[in-house]
Subunit: 112 residues, 2 copies
DNA sequence: TCGACATTTCGCCGATAGTCGAAATATCGA
DNA sequence: TCGATATTTCGACTATCGGCGAAATGTCGA
């Protein structure tokens, strides 16, 4: 991932509702949720949510697929990894003691 | 870290120049760089950069200290860890295979 | 095909962010 | 103390973002 794409992804997440939506989808997993249910969950009008979902999708953070009348949205874990990888790249100029705790952060994600 | 603070941090990074400054300081390490040198490095006017540095500082991503006439800015690695930790928290609802690669991402940071 | 449901697109509006020149503040050496 | 250097603050302008109602699009069951 290059800097302009990272800015897109960060901009997409730099919004209360969008960050809430993204985290919701990350928790839900690959099954995803229909747009209407996401709208109800986060308390946003469907049309407003649609623009947020478009922004998150354009940033490579979520995917969508149509199922009947519903459009199912789900987290794009590859995009998420790309952003996290970009943020930690070259993070310590060869001094592992600085960023070693980052590995713990990532592992703690599955420890509960 | 709570969601509003995460939004602040992500907003701070969601800008080409600010993300460039942050990554520069993350690479440089605890020694940091004076504001003027950062401005020259990223090609931004000193007054404009000053507002960017204030935003990054308010978001908890960088620190500053005065040394003589210069103000030295450096990355706040605790703040950085807080943001990364927030992004991966509850990321896979108990399915480690989804976020296990995140640990590799973090470790790859020091592997070169 | 028609009506109902789900989602998106459009057009408008107010609020906010980003940039710049100019002026103010802080520190140091002479 | 004075002038030079480093940085920040101020004020104003423009561009962009976010939200809404209304209308359009897509899909399905009858």
């Amino acid at each position: 991932m290059l800097l302009p794409e990272a800015v897109d992804a960060l901009s997409a997440l730099a919004h209360g509702h969008r960050l809430g939506v993204f985290r919701l989808l990350v928790r839900v997993g690959a099954d995803g949720l229909p747009a209407g249910e996401i709208a109800r969950e986060v308390g946003v009008l469907p049309n407003t949510l649609s623009t947020h979902l478009t922004i998150l999708g354009h940033a490579g953070l979520i995917q969508s697929r149509r199922e009947g009348r519903s459009v199912i949205y789900s987290a794009d874990y590859d995009g998420m990894r790309g952003l996290l990888g970009f943020l930690v790249s070259d993070c310590c100029a060869g001094r592992p003691e600085i960023c070693a705790p980052l590995a713990e952060v990532a592992q703690s994600c599955c420890d509960k």
